[in-house]
Assembly symmetry: C2
Homo-oligomer: 337 residues x 2
Amino acid sequence: MKLGDLPTPALVVDRPAFDHNVAAMAAVHPGERLRPHVKAFKSTALARELAEAGHRTFCCATTREVEGMAAAGLGHDLLLANEVLDPVRLGRLGDLARSGAARVTVAVDSPETVAAAAAAGVPQVLVDVNVGLPRCGCDPADAGRVADLARSSGMAVRGVMGYEGHLMREPAAAKAAAVEASMKVLLEAREATGGDIVSAGGTGTYDCNRWATEIQAGSYVLMDTEYLPHARAFRHALFLWTTVISVNPAGWAVVDAGLKALGMDHGDPTIVDVGQCWFVSDEHITFGTDAGSPLAVGDRVRVLPAHVDPTVAMHERMVVVDGEDVVDTWPVDLRGW
Amino acid sequence: MKLGDLPTPALVVDRPAFDHNVAAMAAVHPGERLRPHVKAFKSTALARELAEAGHRTFCCATTREVEGMAAAGLGHDLLLANEVLDPVRLGRLGDLARSGAARVTVAVDSPETVAAAAAAGVPQVLVDVNVGLPRCGCDPADAGRVADLARSSGMAVRGVMGYEGHLMREPAAAKAAAVEASMKVLLEAREATGGDIVSAGGTGTYDCNRWATEIQAGSYVLMDTEYLPHARAFRHALFLWTTVISVNPAGWAVVDAGLKALGMDHGDPTIVDVGQCWFVSDEHITFGTDAGSPLAVGDRVRVLPAHVDPTVAMHERMVVVDGEDVVDTWPVDLRGW
């Protein structure tokens, strides 16, 4: 099948750009130096590509991601890098660990999350430490107490995690020093918790975080317009393939993809080559047409999402192309909760 | 089951508010004066509630919505209020119409969309006319030509549609006159096309559009924070039910729902009673906690989406509650394309 034959809207992976991204990251963080974040692509087929490139440890943001990865035989070492209290879902992770189908580690940052993990039979934890982003993570001064509580509840403490998400978009000149200061906090917390792992970082700091023992990055694989200026080694490997369904001679056109096909939290998508986005409706993008690019109803248009993670989560599959040839389909099989 | 027992994040319909909204609209536009827009809720179970309230004609935005409604026995009169070129999908609609499983009408606005509908065996069309919103819809002066082309291609022309979406948020004082001017364009186009139907309007103009023969409204059923100021007869009938997974004494807390559970194109969600949204991440909302509302890890929090339509499309189901009692579950079974 050819790209031109695909029904639209379709979420499409550019195989050469994907291969470039995977290779560029693996050159800096080979094997288990990288713990790819499954939340960015929610696909076991894509995860298998990363495993074949040497990365066998993964981060997950939901219990469904953990369970799906284990069911796909990718359970070598799965970190739920998120706090979860639900006893049913955590119980399933405990069962997974006991069955030997996966090595399961869960993030904890409070007495309540420690108690929930212990009650569910989760065998191992990382202590999630706040390193500057106002989100989850305990106060660094509390990390040792959280670790002691986890051990006294029967769980092993593998170390710490901390996400310096507030620094991903720092100017390059200031980024390394800011990351160093943030990681200093995390390393001190690790002194208090014990364990070998210092899990941190992301696509925006992968090249300057020299303190983490493993980098949690996911966006680099597919990339989006918002992130690219902050991680220029990577390429856009994902686009939305659309069809022009209406053209107005007053200077705009409409394609058949909208709010239900595109994460909008990072702003409007980019219309490749033929115009500028005006606004996005449920099933439409209206864009101003470039004077030099006459468009006809039925033409196909590439659209780049501003934020890959929520975009992928809206689709049932990604179609993989090499040039004009469709070479694979990757189900987005880890959606929902 | 009780609301407090639901796993989170869960998308929840408040049954009394839903009933209020359905009754308030049916009082103004009973029966087929309203053509509810399925795109706003993507659920045949919810659509069946509207059919039981007397509305048996529906709008759809995708062919999958049309097919799903027909398969659910709700095919009395389905309008695909959108331009589609895909011969495979349109062909399925033609098959549906021929089989008698549904009455199917499709919007057309160009020679290309007329040709696609005719080739697919679509029996009936509405001519989509631009009435001021820069999106689909032919120039009003072309409506007669599009209708003639449809007829000469073997299809019946039921009339016109035109969406005055640019007026939904007009100040109340100016709205009626602006809608009248916009509908004047549509009525003139109908003179040229023939047919009985003038399909227009939405939740923001349902109470002042006196010219359409049927109103296309969907948001009123569930409502969101962005739309409510423009349609005050309705109530918030949908919320996201979340769990506090982390509390920071410095003044913020985090719940377990984020960009994959909330449409963000209309801005941040509203945290009910206990704080103000700071930012939304893939699986988290970080919000500033009100000084007078001490929160604990494990507490449940209601979150109101800013835009219902893309929010619903992210979920597999809606859980229906009456007070604290879970009374029903409505699968969101019309997602995707």
